[in-house]
Amino acid sequence: MSLIESRDGFLRMLRDELGMDLAEEDLFTGLDRLAVWDSMYLLRLITAMEEDSGRRIEVRRILEAGCLDEIRAWADTRGDRGAGGAR
């Protein structure tokens, strides 16, 4: 099971890869209001999520996401949608 499939796993990834100690509710805070967030982290996060899931993530969706949980959800579901041909 990959980390991004659960919020707990995703929080652990954020802690290990980005050094961010966050609580579950922070996942739903808008990225523009999340003090510890910097768009610079996207690069590392995308790489980490792809290594974790073994699937290609649609980067554009991640860039458009409003909060961390949306990022997680897109990263988690992209493979299924890809399989279903929903480009």
Binding site: E17, L42, L43, R44, L63
Partner: protein, 635 residues
């Protein structure tokens, strides 16, 4: 093995002790990078550590540890550069340094290099990184494009960068760091004819070769070659991250780039290492000498043996450029010497080592003794051993030493040894190539003199001769190295890079004198320097340096006496000097009073001395000095 030190690093941060415990960070990182992990794990560990470290409060570290070296870095580039922060912070922390990094907006490199008021030019950084990628060329091409277009663009861009680099180094004291631009498949495959594709490769490599030659032309420009980093670290670019985030390079490549920058900063600070200390069993040869005897070990003729042979050849290549070699082994000395003298497989022989320490002592004691014998600190040494336990012990007891993690796979020994540029210098110098010989002669001297009595008798026995002369252009590189490497006899503690020395030599207000010496065993080469500034009837000594290689022979006293004599004969009123205390130059303090200088003031700038040229101590009897001051003071 990787998780544990990272956890300790995180707990330092969580408890707010990252700053107060900063000296613990470098050893933790050394531990983090030790071990069997492959490149991918290493990059991952580097980035994770970088996330912990980049939040560090530099000022608070300096409050607790004011001597921590701070490297100020300005970063600009064609793409986004901000994600260099983590790897840069970590790589500098590995060397015990702190980073102050200032980033420009993405794509701002041309403005940053041209505008004299850009923060990149005016922020006073010592390292100015300008991260280039091939899009600086391809962005300029028309659509459609052909080889001629690319040729025109590469020619004009190289010309432009070269002019900008020249102007940059005239205007600022920073070292400007450029890089070669990798050729990617999405460039080459845009041409479908193979001849055109081959030409494209040639044109782009000509551009990169031109960039690399800029470094040879200007002393304050460095050009990092990204090709070897890409060959090691995998893909250079992710098309999606390049498109959407303007990230020209992948994280692993940037990690390699930051590692090079760390070593560059280290070498500019004169912190390059001098001596490689090697274990023997399963490090230099396959097998355990004590168990298997000389017949049972190999460095040729078998799969594993060949790998050890290659390692020995690499070590010999480093030694030929001035890296000193020493052995630290728990084997008995006699069989070790027998192998080094007689074993047919050995590339490295007894004469290649300045010290062979083979004894039952612990490795840290053994290594400390090597440092003492070489008259240098443990921080000048690099230690390579295949045993994780020995490495851990040495790291723990001698945290200043650099440790190369070898393991049971000898085919990786060369990679591991060369992974870090511990011995990097800007230029080869004539002295470097001959350094190991000098130290070996030093051992003969030491042994010869141990039989005689007092220090004066030692010096008399040596028949020391000293020459003081204005340096010629070729000697300036060596002079710069002396300021970077000499700690103990360094009056002002100043460290001058080659451009600084060249500027001083060209400045008519300053006078430089190189000090060379010889004794009955041979020449010592350039061993010191005097930095002088005559001003209104006075001579001010900005600095005097003397290599610890020739310490205890009275050379510094002879040179200063000769200077005092000359100053009096030239009709000067006095000779002055200012001594700035550093952590290592305390022995200079007694030198001036002993020569008849009076302390006139002690303030924030240091201790000020003056000699009124009344009673001048004679040049010590046991040495002869030949000084050329003619024309030094313009009357």
């Amino acid at each position: 093995m990787g998780a544990q030190p990272l956890e300790r690093l995180r707990s330092l941060r969580a408890s707010g002790r990252l700053e107060s415990d900063y000296p613990r960070v470098a050893p933790l990182l050394a531990e983090l990078f030790d071990g069997p992990d492959g490149p991918a794990e290493r990059f991952s560990a580097l980035f994770r550590a970088g996330r912990v470290l980049s939040a560090i409060d530099t000022d608070r570290v300096l409050l607790h540890h004011p001597d921590t070296p701070v490297v100020s870095v300005a970063v600009t580039g064609h793409g986004t550069v901000a994600h260099l922060l983590d790897p840069l912070t970590t790589e500098l922390a590995r060397h015990g340094m702190l980073a102050r990094v200032q980033f420009s907006d993405h794509g701002a490199y041309l403005r940053d290099l041209t505008d004299p008021h850009s923060a990149f030019r005016t922020c006073g950084a010592e390292l100015a990184l300008c991260v280039l990628d091939a899009e600086i060329l391809f962005d300029q091409l028309p659509l459609p494009w052909g080889i001629k277009d690319l040729e025109a663009v590469t020619t004009s861009t190289l010309h432009q960068l070269s002019a900008l680099a020249d102007r940059y180094s005239e205007d600022t004291p920073a070292t400007l760091v450029l890089n070669t631009v990798p050729l990617l498949r999405h460039h080459t495959q845009q041409l479908i004819d193979r001849r055109g594709r081959a030409l494209l490769g040639a044109v782009l490599r000509d551009f990169n070769a031109g960039l690399l030659r800029l470094a040879a032309r200007s002393p304050s420009v460095e050009v990092l070659d990204l090709d070897p980093l890409i060959a090691e670290g995998g893909p250079a670019c992710d098309a999606r991250l390049a498109r959407y985030l303007k990230a020209a390079y992948t994280d692993p490549l940037l990690a390699g780039y930051a590692r090079e920058v760390g070593h560059l900063a280290r070498s500019l600070r004169g912190m390059a290492k001098k001596c490689l200390v090697l274990d023997l069993d399963n490090t230099l040869w396959d097998g355990v000498l004590g168990d298997q005897g000389p017949e049972g070990i190999a460095a040729a003729g078998t799969y594993r043996g060949e790998a050890f042979g290659e390692f020995q050849r690499t070590v010999k290549q480093l030694a030929s450029q001035g890296v000193l070699l020493a052995v630290s082994s728990k084997n008995d000395r006699a069989p070790v010497l027998e192998v080094l003298r007689e074993h047919p497989d050995m590339v490295l022989r007894e004469a290649d080592f300045v010290r062979v320490n083979a004894s039952r002592d612990t490795k840290d004691g053994n290594i400390r003794q090597i440092a003492d014998d070489l008259d240098c600190g443990v921080e000048c040494l690099v230690f390579a051993d295949d045993s994780a336990a020995e490495r851990a012990l040495v790291r723990h007891r001698l945290p200043q030493i650099a440790v190369v993690p070898l393991d049971e796979e000898p085919a990786l020994h060369v990679t591991r040894l060369l992974q870090d540029g511990w011995f990097d210098t800007r230029l080869p110098t004539e002295e470097d190539g001959r350094r190991p010989d000098r130290y070996r002669v030093e051992e003969v001297r030491r042994e010869a003199l141990e039989e005689t009595g007092s220090p004066e008798e030692h010096a008399r026995e040596l028949e020391v001769k000293v020459w003081m002369r204005p340096p010629d252009t070729l000697e300036l590189a060596r002079l710069s190295q002396l300021t970077l490497r000499t700690d103990q006899l360094n009056l002002a503690g100043a460290r001058l890079r080659l451009p600084d020395i060249t500027a001083l030599a060209d400045d008519p207000r300053h006078l430089l004198l190189s000090i060379r010496s010889a004794d009955r065993f041979g020449e010592n080469g350039m061993v010191g320097a005097l930095f002088l500034r005559p001003d209104q009837g006075q001579m001010h000594i900005d600095n005097i340096l003397l290599s610890c290689r020739v310490a205890g022979r009275g050379i510094e006293r002879a040179c200063l006496s000769a200077l005092l004599e000359y100053s009096r004969a030239a009709g000067l009123r006095s000779v002055t000097a200012t001594y700035r205390v550093t952590s290592k130059n305390r022995q200079v303090r007694e030198l001036f009073p002993e020569l008849g200088f009076r302390e006139v003031r002690d303030d924030d700038n240091g201790v000020h001395y003056r000699h009124d040229l009344d009673v001048i101590p004679p040049v010590p009897e046991h040495l002869r000095i030949d000084s050329r001051f003619e024309g030094l003071v313009r009357q």
